[in-house]
Symmetry: C2
Subunit: 352 residues, 2 copies
Amino acid sequence: MKIAVLPGDGIGPEVTRESLKVLDALSLPQLTLFEGDVGGIAYKRHGHPLPSETLDMARAADAVLFGAVGDPECDSLPRQHRPEQAILGLRSELGLFANLRPAAGFPGLEDLSPLKPELARGIDLLVVRELNGDVYFGEKGERESAGGREGWDAMSYNEAEVERIAHTAFRAARKRRKKLTSVDKANVLETSRVWREVVVQIADQYPDVELDHMYVDNAAMQLVRSPGQFDVILTGNLFGDILSDQASACVGSIGLLASASLGERQTDLGTFGLYEPIHGSAPDIAGQGKANPVAAILSLAMLLRHSLGRETEAGQIERAVANTLTGDIRGADLGGTATTQEIGDAVIGNLK
Amino acid sequence: MKIAVLPGDGIGPEVTRESLKVLDALSLPQLTLFEGDVGGIAYKRHGHPLPSETLDMARAADAVLFGAVGDPECDSLPRQHRPEQAILGLRSELGLFANLRPAAGFPGLEDLSPLKPELARGIDLLVVRELNGDVYFGEKGERESAGGREGWDAMSYNEAEVERIAHTAFRAARKRRKKLTSVDKANVLETSRVWREVVVQIADQYPDVELDHMYVDNAAMQLVRSPGQFDVILTGNLFGDILSDQASACVGSIGLLASASLGERQTDLGTFGLYEPIHGSAPDIAGQGKANPVAAILSLAMLLRHSLGRETEAGQIERAVANTLTGDIRGADLGGTATTQEIGDAVIGNLK
Ligand SMILES: CC(C)[C@H](C(=O)O)[C@@H](O)C(=O)O
Ligand SMILES: CC(C)[C@H](C(=O)O)[C@@H](O)C(=O)O
């Protein structure tokens, strides 16, 4: 099995290093790692945030372990050279259509949530965000209009696109509490009307899963008012961008949350995917040993589960993380003094 | 001065009745009220959620006092006959391009917020949402695609549209804490790129206002993590729909929040506008005297301020509401037993 490792910018390299230490400690057989440049660092070295060598390496792999991209020094570059284009490029080039973002509080760490403890304790949801369509990848540009220059973007979803992400979400709900909330804006958008019709159709194949629909404005409200009502949230690319970040913020511990972006291609033991912590490159604390590697380590667990068929080891890592988090070792983000390395070491110590 | 009163569906009529009682108690000279049907009730009586008589009445008025629309009995109607089309129709036909939604906790009622009290106490923001453009009013439809039926919607903003809403927001910020956060998704959308460029240009005319930009995903996160950082949030129609509801949910007291939707037309003493509580029609409690009329009464205060130039009376109502809320009279939504009418009476009692 081949893993492409793309540490990227900011704290990406230091948290990825800890994931790799954990992977090493598991001594899995027949694993080959390749490392490539992505993001601002790739732009500086190769003139492009997603060099073709990096893309080829990712394509040839069974899974991609991704750090973070984003570099303030690149802020004034034209959009196509900016670090975030690397992640958009990987998603489209690799056909990563299904973004899974679990958001759940960690026992004992409810206090990290900005919500009242009784609400925070109830959060245990999974956002399934479509990642290859919507207004992200439609035609777009600038044109002249009666009101001067006009920026425009085409939003759309077709049946095939909604079907495949709906299947992903229903299957995920089956493995959880069997409740699926599809979020759209069907009272205004034609894109959403088709979205909803297809989701309703696919639901016939999952009679054991309870489906409901919510408008995105109401969902944003409910995520704050009573997040415990959600199990799986299925939504499009744009609404998913907003709601998944909102859900993470409700949990409160941005440094602890992981994500998977899955493609259609099957590997020998699972599904091809890209795995990344949701925290981003955090340039303000990069290189200081202050970053929490837990999100990166949990991304590795998702990689082992979804792409390498290693459920046992994934669970082992997740338990080790949970035990570490309830212990004495705390990083700067949790009010402690443990360094990135020390937290990584502690997780490894708890692996068994 | 003429006010068109459109009570609408659900709890709309009963909360509007209390606003009118308050208006009556102020004994303002030269005021004429007209009442019209809108929403589900209008569909049932006239076959259309926004009958042309209602639209004409609104057009002829200096301000519109709006209750709520939405009726579960209309859920299965084709979209163009559904109650919410009435509000979309009013916005576009009357050119109501600027939606102002203040979100602030009421002293003593921080506990209504799902956020921790120290965060809830800090919330005092105004969302300025563009209301006549974006993906709401672009071309839209269904077409065949390689992936089957495809729903599509065109998103756009031109310079003139952004300029006028930016002026509204900068002027509002000037009267508040002089901080403006423009929210967009300029790293992905051309619509947002133009949006941001225009906002930056207009900012030159308001050197006393501090401007920053935030991506919508980050804004959704920050609204939960530290809502106190915001003064005025300026954003487009779609993001504004989501963020303004999220902001209301953070305050917690949906039954207490009002909104104004302003047009370009100047009245003798202010700006033409439509005023509505943000709570919606709440069909589950309609007709039971359980609805809190405070949001409707505060909408009347906004009407007096923005359309009738009655700042004194607006402030008078707002103080009366604040005094009522800190008193003993509590409605069902605040854990008390006071009826809609009793709360209205109490506000009138506190007017002086
Ligand atoms: C960096 C940006 C283009 C990206 C997105 O909008 O998808 C990010 O916010 C995310 O959610 O991964
Ligand atoms: C009813 C609906 C069309 C409307 C909107 O999306 O604008 C509502 O959510 C609002 O915010 O007033």
